[in-house]
């Protein structure tokens, strides 16, 4: 009876993804305990976040891709409406209008679009799969550009970049012409000065800080410098769990959320980093495998976009913490403290599982 229940519960789980996720979550809890100054209440809260996120993953894994396909347009439209609402009525916190108060709670609609945009695009390309041509890509670009611009205007460059990346992966995997890609790269490069002109001051500072953190060691460069010191001082073997001085004496900012990687790296060293990269590669590799073997264009595109977005999260976060990318607010997937990102990411991974297991169910 129990066995059957467990089998029923687990029938849409993918063991490889699940193993990777479990590994990352475990690492995350271990680091969080140290980063939070051995706070059990922080740990408990994160465990609750994870439980909720796992439930969402389970639910997503149990939604058949066909059902997901039907949700694409409503989710996208709802997300778009909410984004417009944020622009009009949103709450301002930390100088940016990102949150929407819907009475019971505050929501961040840009988070919805991390799934909503690739979902919409995948649906769209799937629908026009047979006659896919340049015009479809133009429409796809528009579908992508509107929410990205709305999010960027909040301003929330980090999320905008992630949504743009997710959408771009769909376009790319759907066969966007190389000519256009190269053309866009050239145009984009040429447009950089223009982009500089419309950037906010704090965004410019972040870019300048990346180029030379010592320019402003106590201000914008502080995060980057202290994180680099944390990572560098960890050395090959790390200072050991609970022994990271940079983190535990408050030198690393945001050390339970965006900069948690610095804490991990200080305490576990280069070997720890290798382990983390390996765990991430398990998830990414399995995701790409699922994408390659998916049975519909929609599934292929979704699986590819979700996997590559996951990769983008990880790369952008570690890149920014280790000082090769500008500081943008991107959490390290499954490691950083926080419910929203855990839910979004595990929802995506749940879709991956669904794509893989439902195909199998259909076949057998």
């Amino acid at each position: 009876m129990i066995e059957r229940l467990l089998a029923w519960l687990g029938r849409h789980f993918d063991p490889f993804l699940l193993a990777g996720v479990a590994g990352l979550l475990a690492v995350g809890l271990v680091v969080l305990y140290s980063a939070s100054g051995e706070s059990l209440s922080r740990l408990g809260a994160q465990v609750m976040n994870i439980v909720v996120a796992l439930a969402v993953m389970w639910a997503a894994a149990n939604i058949a891709p066909q059902q997901l396909l039907r949700m694409a347009v409503p989710v996208y439209v709802a997300g778009l409406v909410l984004l417009v609402a944020v622009a009009l009525f949103g709450d301002i916190s930390n100088g940016a209008r990102r949150w929407l108060n819907i009475g019971v709670t505050r929501i961040q609609p840009s988070e919805i679009m991390k799934i909503g945009v690739p979902l919409m695009l995948a649906w769209y390309f799937d629908r026009y799969e047979a006659i896919l041509n340049f015009r479809n890509f133009a429409v796809g670009a528009l579908v992508l550009a509107v929410p990205v611009l709305l999010i960027a205007a909040q301003p929330d460059l980090g999320t905008a970049l992630l949504v743009a990346a997710a959408g771009f992966f769909v376009l790319f995997l759907a066969g966007l012409s190389w000519k256009i890609i190269v053309g866009m790269a050239v145009v984009g490069g040429a447009a950089l000065p223009g982009l500089w002109a419309v950037m906010h001051d704090y965004q410019r500072r972040r870019v300048l800080t990346l180029l030379d953190p010592m320019q402003d060691p106590t201000g914008a460069g502080y995060h980057t410098i202290q994180a680099s010191i944390a990572i560098g001082s960890g050395g090959v073997f790390g200072k050991g769990w609970l022994n990271g001085t940079q983190a535990r004496l408050d030198f690393v900012p945001e050390r339970t959320t965006d900069f948690i990687f610095a804490v991990f790296s200080e305490e576990f060293g280069l070997f720890g980093n290798l382990l983390l990269l390996a765990l991430l590669l398990v998830v990414i590799g399995r995701g790409l495998y699922i994408a390659a073997n998916a049975s519909t264009l929609f599934a292929r595109l979704m699986a590819g976009a979700i996997t590559l977005t996951f990769f983008t999260y990880a790369f952008v976060n570690m890149g920014m913490v280790s000082g090769i990318l500008p500081v943008v607010g991107v959490p390290l997937p499954l490691i950083s403290y926080g419910g929203t990102s855990a839910v979004t990411i595990l929802f995506g991974l749940g879709i991956l599982m669904s794509i893989h297991t439902h195909k199998r169910l259909v076949q057998t």
Binding site: V236, L281, N293, I324
Partner: protein
């Protein structure tokens, strides 16, 4: 990609077509398209996988760079972040008199300090604090001054020496005052106030200029924790001994700078203690004897050169300077016409007047220009051969027959005019220079003037002028270009008392190491001696003894003394007198009145103490300065403390009224 995937996809195409409702126009083209599309997808997925691997490789290279290549560098930076080295101030050495009486010490007291960095609105915080703790306008003024002076300071004191009650009140309301804290600090204290203030000097706030100087001397690091240093007197001269060695505490701190725990401690080494030759009781007797008069006294132990007392009146309260002097006190001290901050004993230069005569007499005897029996008939003035100018004696009509003995006892000017002429300025300069006139004595305190003992060479150099015989004449009675400091006069008197053996005057007798308790003696090494024939010394001494006996110029001051004192009075003119003009004390404004001088040693046959006294604008040496010497000698020789003399004592019989 499994080999089965392609046929599977092909099979799925039919189903797809049916459901989607799209009817391909040319079936063959579509199939090819979709096969190609699938291939394209797979190629692009491989490209993405490559991108992922490339990106991770990039990260790995970055990690390698940070964690292997630059590991040591970053580890050092992390340690730097983590460990603050806090300097720990050493206790300043004590200053004790020769009997162990404390002249300067430290005590611990609570101070209220404000950390400006943690305080957004300083004024508001100070106002709030003032509700709980007594904060006077002068505290605020000093606080503001300190803020302006030192920007690198973490915390700035606003009130010092809090009472226990104030500490309690603050602690109870502490949450209301972020950025304010109570700290226990050591304070310098001078328990005797004004007494000996010019000897001890004072410490003061370490300013930017002091820092630059310490930097140049290469000892700035030892002052990393200090906010004060010796500024005047012994506190300044013996700064290196008194200051000690700064200790260090290695403290683990968090990013906000809060100390988490102490990792390592290197204790500070307290400063060395100074034990003075000075006897505070003698000092006190002397200062009391001055009353409210301005002037200076230096008393030296002839056998060692140890300074028994060094007075400069008026004095000041050195405690005012300890925490940085407030503006109104500073103005009061600076604008006082009595110049209480001037150390008259060291830096005040005065014509030695008739106190110069014993040295002149000795020069005459030693250089063979006068015999003891040589006698002049004093008409009351001296005229250079071939000149009409009269150098007047202080006594109109003259002293009659005057030999060497009497010239000292009654202080005959005419005798010394002639002697000066016969000696010549350069002989005079050479012989009397041996008593220390014209150059600093080398006493262990800063700010000493060299005085002036003129010579031909000096005048040529200073004015580019030839020396005139007429210049020599007034030098003979300690006037003219002649200038000396009280410490020089005392030094010369001590040499006289010591029969020509010279000990450098020094205030500090020994420096006691705070670590080992060992004493370093700064002691009586005679650094020079010059031969004086004993019979000449005896002649001069006998005359100086008679100065204080009936008929002498200081007879009244020493009336009834049970011991013999060898002394000489002096009066130094402040303003020049025209020919035939008569000096009338009552008609001259106080600051132009003559300075009263007196040099002496006692007991005459076995000198324990030699001193020089100057009373500014005091009038006659016999009546104004000698009574101070009497009080000091009575204490030193007899152990008796006499009553302070009244400054307005009426001047005296003829003999004593003189010079």
């Amino acid at each position: 990609m499994s080999p089965l995937a392609l046929p599977r996809l092909l099979a799925r195409f039919g189903f797809r077509r049916g459901r989607a409702g799209f009817r391909p126009r040319v079936r063959g083209v579509e199939i090819r398209d979709l096969v190609r599309a699938l291939r394209q997808f797979q190629v692009r997925l491989v490209i993405c996988a490559g991108l992922v691997l490339f990106a991770f490789l990039l990260l790995l290279m970055r990690f390698f760079y940070l964690q292997v290549v630059r590991h040591q560098d970053y580890l050092a930076q992390a340690e730097d972040n983590r460990i603050s080295v806090l300097p720990v101030a050493p206790n300043r050495g004590l200053i004790l008199d020769r009997n162990g009486t404390v002249l300067a010490h430290n005590y611990s007291a609570f101070t209220l300090e404000i950390t400006p960095k943690e305080t957004p609105d300083l004024e508001a915080l100070v106002d709030a604090l003032a509700e709980v703790i007594d904060i006077q306008p002068k505290d605020r003024a000093r606080f503001r001054k300190l803020l302006d002076e030192r920007h690198d300071l973490d915390s700035v004191p606003i009130r010092t020496r809090l009472s226990d009650e104030e500490v309690a009140r603050f602690s109870a309301n502490r949450y209301r005052f972020p950025g304010a804290a109570i700290d226990a600090r050591l304070f310098r204290h001078y328990p005797n106030g004004e007494l000996a203030s010019h000897v001890i000097g004072h410490i003061g706030r370490l300013g930017e200029r002091d820092k630059a100087r310490l930097e140049k001397e290469g000892v700035a690091q030892n002052y990393s924790s200090a906010d004060y240093l010796g500024k005047a007197g012994l506190e300044a001269f013996y700064e290196r001994d008194l200051h000690g060695v700064t200790g260090y505490e290695h403290v683990e701190t968090d990013a906000a700078g809060r100390a988490v725990r102490t990792l390592r401690r290197q204790l500070p080494v307290s400063g060395n203690n100074l034990q003075l030759a000075l006897d505070l009781k003698i000092q006190e007797v002397a200062e009391r004897a001055f009353g409210t008069r301005r002037g200076a006294l230096v008393a030296i132990e002839p056998a060692t050169g140890g300074v028994l007392a060094l007075v400069s009146r008026p004095g000041f309260d050195p405690n005012l300077f300890v925490e940085g002097i407030d503006l109104s006190s500073w103005d009061a001290l600076n604008n006082d016409t009595a110049k209480p901050l001037n150390n008259r004993a060291l830096s005040g230069v005065y014509p030695p007047g008739s106190t110069f005569k014993p040295f002149m007499a000795l020069a005459g005897l030693e250089l063979g220009k006068r015999s003891p029996r040589y006698t002049i008939a004093d008409p009351g003035y001296f005229v250079l051969p071939g000149s009409a100018h009269r150098f007047r004696d202080w006594k109109q009509g003259g002293h009659g027959m005057v030999d060497l003995h009497r010239s000292i006892v009654i202080s005959c000017d005419t005798y010394y005019y002639g002697l000066a002429m016969d000696l010549g300025i350069d002989n005079l300069h050479r012989f009397i220079g041996q008593f220390g006139f014209g150059k600093t004595t080398g006493i262990d305190i800063a700010g000493e003037s060299g005085g002036l003992l003129p010579s031909q060479a000096w005048k040529q150099k200073r004015f580019g002028q030839k020396w005139f015989l007429g210049d020599t004449i007034s030098v003979g009675i300690g006037q003219g270009y002649n200038l000396a400091t009280p410490v020089q006069l005392a030094f010369a008197t001590a040499i006289l008392a010591n029969s020509g053996v010279v000990y450098r005057p020094h205030l500090v007798r020994s420096v006691e190491s705070s670590q080992s308790g060992e004493r370093r003696w700064i002691e009586a090494q005679p650094f020079g001696t010059f031969p004086i024939r004993p019979e000449n010394l005896v002649r001069v001494r006998d005359a100086m003894v008679d100065v204080n006996k009936p008929g002498g110029t200081a007879a009244q001051a020493f009336a009834g003394a049970s011991y013999a004192v060898a002394g000489k009075t002096g009066t130094a003119q402040v303003i020049g007198m025209k020919q035939n003009e008569k000096y009338d004390e009552s008609r001259v404004a106080e600051q132009y009145r003559d300075h009263a001088l007196y040099i002496a040693y006692a007991p005459a046959d076995n000198p324990k103490i030699a001193l020089a006294i100057l009373v500014e604008n005091g009038g006659h040496g016999g009546s104004a300065a000698a009574p101070i010497a009497r009080a000091v000698f009575d204490y030193v020789v007899l152990g008796k403390e006499s009553k302070p003399p009244k400054p307005g004592d009426p001047a005296t019989p003829e003999e004593a009224a003189g010079d």
